[in-house]
């Protein structure tokens, strides 16, 4: 890797754009909470617990987007795009994993009421768990490789292959198997425990949540990329200090 100019600590002040984006995302989150709790009407059959879906689905969407970005970054890295794409892919997986954790932990609260138990080995839920494990393994794989170039190559290839679990979770399960999990976009399977037929206000809240979580993802990704760049700089300085140059 080409040697890089090492900057002093003070040179890494936060860009104005990131500050604006962070504040805007916080406002969007407050507005999305208002939409979910007050603007959207209470669902007649499930009551208030249905409101979990607005953030549960929003986080699921943003998580899938994060893993798609990792695929794009992986392809860019493998085709010679440079180290920055490895940083983007890695950061995106970590943020995506946090978002999917929100989805996986909030879903069982709704399921406890709707199904009488927090978890079933339904195809949709099982493939979601496999997806989470696949990306947790991505982080472990990277942590186990010392050489940055090798880590980047392995991470890029793994990030592309692991996306199969995302396709299976969001699309594949719909077509190949019966599931009790309701579908938000498109009609639910005949085996689903409930249909997600939404009133216009519910739909507005859901769309707003999708947009909000897209901003949440973008904001966290930017912060995480900056953190990775800071870690690289510290490691480079440590190496220089130890070598005595």
């Amino acid at each position: 890797m080409a040697s890089r100019e090492i900057q002093p600590a003070g040179a890494a002040s936060r860009p104005v754009g990131l500050t604006v984006l962070t504040v805007f995302t916080a406002v969007m989150l407050l507005a999305a909470t208002y939409m979910a709790f007050i603007y959207a009407p209470t669902e007649a059959a499930m009551g208030a617990v249905q409101r979990i879906f607005y953030f549960h689905v929003g986080a699921a969407w943003a998580g899938a987007l994060a893993f798609l970005v990792t695929v794009v970054a992986g392809i860019a890295y493998l085709t010679g795009g440079g180290r920055k794409w490895d940083v983007v892919g890695h950061a995106s997986v970590e943020v995506g994993l946090a978002l999917i954790t929100i989805t996986l932990l909030s879903g069982p609260v709704w399921a406890q009421f709707a199904w009488g138990k927090p978890w079933t080995w339904d195809p949709k839920l099982t493939s979601s768990a496999v997806m989470w494990l696949s990306y947790a393994a991505y982080l472990m794989l990277r942590a186990g490789i010392e050489d940055p170039a090798r880590r980047g190559r392995f991470g890029a290839v793994y990030g592309i292959i692991a996306f199969a679990s995302v396709i299976m979770t969001y699309l594949g399960v719909r077509f190949i198997s019966a599931t009790i999990h309701p579908t938000v976009i498109g009609p639910s399977a005949s085996t689903a425990s409930t249909d997600m037929g939404m009133t216009p206000r519910m739909l507005h809240a859901m769309i707003f949540s999708f947009v909000t979580f897209t901003f949440v993802y973008a904001t966290l990704l930017w912060h995480r990329i900056r953190l990775e760049n800071l870690a690289e700089r510290v490691n480079a300085l440590k190496a220089r200090l130890l070598s005595g140059s």
């Binding site: 007649a44 059959a45 409101r51 929100i102 510290v234």
Partner: protein, 58 residues
């Protein structure tokens, strides 16, 4: 009367809702705090390294 019937049929699931959003907020907060802690530690490392470099120059 039909309106009353619909209202009484809607279950009270507010506790589930609060638990769900507590989990959502909790996971989000833990992740943001982990980012802040890592950033704080790296900045501290950077300051120490720079101090060591200054000492070497002197």
């Amino acid at each position: 009367m039909p309106v009353l019937l619909i209202e009484s049929a809607t279950p009270d699931t507010a506790l589930f809702l609060l638990l769900g959003y507590a989990i959502i907020g909790g996971v989000g907060l833990i992740y943001v705090i982990s980012l802040l802690i890592r950033q704080h530690n790296l900045k501290r490392d950077l300051e120490i390294i720079e101090r060591l470099q200054d000492d070497e120059r002197e």
